[in-house]
């Protein structure tokens, strides 16, 4: 495992703090995810319920909220996949899994060329910038991870090409990063997640 020194921003002090980029999603990350992330998420969901946000009209996978073991096994990795995580103050702040083998570019002038596909990217719930959530603790984790994906793409000889399906709440993030929004496809991600 290799660790790269990186910086993320402590939101309360607005100052950069040292963090580590690890080229793995290890057992430690999965435990942080299963217990610490979920606890914060639970508090957030309670707050939503307290604010009258109700249960109908779910638009994410039903298995998401309980089948953590399957989710862990899936993130743990497949051949041709690699994982990265950002750790700060001994807690996992964000994770990403890359598919280096099976995806091709879709924009016209690069059609069919290999790219690095981000098949999973998530940051810890205490870093979310969402209605009803507490202000995030850290910012800039997504930036570190996306830069990692781009760097990895260069290393693989893919000239920095990166593709991903964005969560609805992350669309402006990727647009600001300079990604091109190719819209949703009814045959992918239940037609809910736009491809960049």
């Amino acid at each position: 495992m290799t660790s790269y020194p990186v910086f993320i921003i402590d939101v309360s002090s607005r100052q950069p703090v040292e963090a580590e980029l690890l080229d793995t999603i290890g057992e430690r990350q999965l435990l942080d995810w299963q217990f610490q992330w979920r606890r914060t998420l639970e508090g957030y969901l309670r707050r939503l319920a307290d604010n009258g946000v109700t249960r109908q009209g779910l638009d994410w996978p039903q298995s998401w909220h309980w089948d953590w073991r399957a989710k862990i096994d899936e993130v743990r990795g497949l051949l041709g996949h690699t994982g990265y995580s950002v750790v700060c103050r001994d807690v996992t702040q964000g994770m990403m899994r890359l598919d280096l083998a099976s995806r091709m570019a879709r924009i016209d002038d690069q059609m069919g060329k290999p790219l690095v596909y981000v098949d999973y990217l998530e940051i810890a719930p205490w870093n979310w910038n969402e209605p009803y959530a507490d202000p995030p603790l850290y910012r800039g984790i997504g930036q570190v991870l996306i830069r990692t994906a781009i760097q990895r793409s260069f290393d693989e000889g893919f000239h920095g090409r990166v593709g991903l399906h964005s969560l609805p709440q992350a669309v402006t993030f990727y647009e600001r990063c300079g990604f091109i929004n190719l819209g949703t496809n009814p045959n992918e991600c239940r037609g809910l997640l736009p491809y960049f």
Binding site: F7, L21, R39, A49, H65, V144, R147, T172
Partner: protein, 159 residues
């Protein structure tokens, strides 16, 4: 991989995160607000509840029928509880089970997904124990006999 960034880069780029939360891939999906929330972990805790009822019954060496008789619960309700993770037990059933197995009614209701957990740690622990309890040993002689009987019936039916 070569990778190096500076504190200045982090400061400049983090400004891009200010109004949204990064996330990609269906595995990272989460509630989209304003949208709708749900009650977390209903199915997960209910599976643990099913596991608890199953083990508590077997520990006492009872059949489902015996437990149903003693606790005045419908046999069908008990079978659904033990075998159907989607089944929502009746309040009365929880009360009977908590009496007969001598456990907290409130805790059991939380585990069955009928009340929101006050102590999420306890419920999390219960779920972990339940997951750990999933049988990895071979069938007992009685289980094997019952299983053989079941298989023979199914084979007869298939003809």
């Amino acid at each position: 991989m070569t990778y190096s960034t500076t504190a200045e880069w982090a400061l400049a780029r983090a400004a891009l995160d200010e109004t949204s939360t990064p996330g990609a891939g269906p595995l990272s999906a989460r509630p989209h607000v304003p949208g709708e929330a749900f009650w977390l972990r209903g199915e997960e805790t209910r599976l643990a509840f099913a596991r608890f009822v199953n083990m508590a019954r077997r520990q006492r060496g009872w059949s489902i029928e015996k437990l149903a008789d003693d606790a005045h619960i419908e046999v069908g309700e008990l079978m659904s509880i033990e075998q159907d993770g989607g089944h929502e037990p009746e309040l009365r059933t929880i009360w009977r089970l908590s009496e007969i197995f001598d456990v907290s009614q409130a805790r059991l209701m939380e585990l069955a997904g009928l009340a929101s957990p006050k102590d999420t740690h306890a419920i999390e622990e219960a779920v972990r124990y339940a997951a750990r309890s999933t049988a990895i040993t071979a069938l007992t002689a009685e289980e094997q006999a019952a299983f053989d009987g079941l298989v023979s019936v199914l084979r007869d039916k298939a003809k």
